[in-house]
């Protein structure tokens, strides 16, 4: 999948965008656990992050397919 980070999540991920290979299709809930494991700097952020899959806000049960675009979205401040 392609992992995109925004705002403070960029620093936590170390980059605004990277490929990330995971063995299988998994839920967004499981993805959160994997993120905390693989990117420890992300762990303290995770509770505040929304996650979008292919441009749509995901829930814990949303499935992430291979090739998906997964965006890590801190609380927003537009306007």
């Amino acid at each position: 999948m392609r992992l995109l980070a925004f705002a403070s999540a960029v620093e936590a991920l170390g980059t605004p965008s990277r490929e990330w290979q995971l063995p299988d299709e998994l839920s967004v809930g499981d993805l959160r656990l994997q993120l905390a494991k693989e990117f420890p700097a992300m762990a303290p952020l995770l509770a505040r992050l929304a996650i979008a899959v292919d441009g749509t806000l995901a829930t814990t049960t949303t499935l992430v397919r291979d090739g998906a675009e997964v965006a890590l979205l801190p609380p927003v401040s537009g306007g």
Binding site: F6, A7, A50, A52, T56, S77, G78, G79
Partner: protein, 142 residues
């Protein structure tokens, strides 16, 4: 002119012109501009960034759904990205309607939705050299 993101200065007069209609006697606008302070710190600029593809869709959806709330209501909503100096406009929302209540309600509704539904962030640049992400509102589903 479509609702969405831009990197050039927002032009409220052009936006009003784009939604004007002979049946719409009431037009309302909201413009958000960079303030010179926040939480007691002096601000010199704000960097706006976005998850652009999703934010563009979100702004179009908010404008469309807000407009659908009343007959003949028209709404246009544009957000600027990049580094903005104090006084520069970051967002402009305009509405036109046969009824003033509908136009005034529309700009308020659209503004509140942008603030919680659009994946857009500001990073404040302070006079003391510091910088800080503002992460205020958990992103809400549209």
């Amino acid at each position: 002119m479509r609702s969405g993101l831009t990197t050039v200065p927002l032009d409220v007069a052009a936006m009003f012109a784009a939604i004007a209609a002979p049946g719409c006697g009431a037009m309302a606008a909201f413009v958000g501009a960079v303030r010179d302070h926040d939480d007691g710190r002096e601000v010199v600029a704000i960097d706006y960034s976005a998850y652009e593809s999703m934010a563009a869709k979100s702004l179009e959806q908010i404008a469309g759904e807000t407009a659908a709330a009343a007959p003949q209501l028209r709404v246009l909503l544009r957000h600027r990205l990049g580094r903005l100096a104090v006084g520069e406009a970051s967002i402009a929302i305009v509405a036109a309607s046969p009824r003033r209540d509908a136009a005034l309600a529309a700009i308020r509704t659209a503004l509140e939705r942008v603030k919680s539904e659009a994946p857009i962030w500001k990073r404040e640049i302070y006079a003391d050299g510091g910088e800080r992400w503002r992460e205020d509102e958990p992103l809400a589903p549209a």
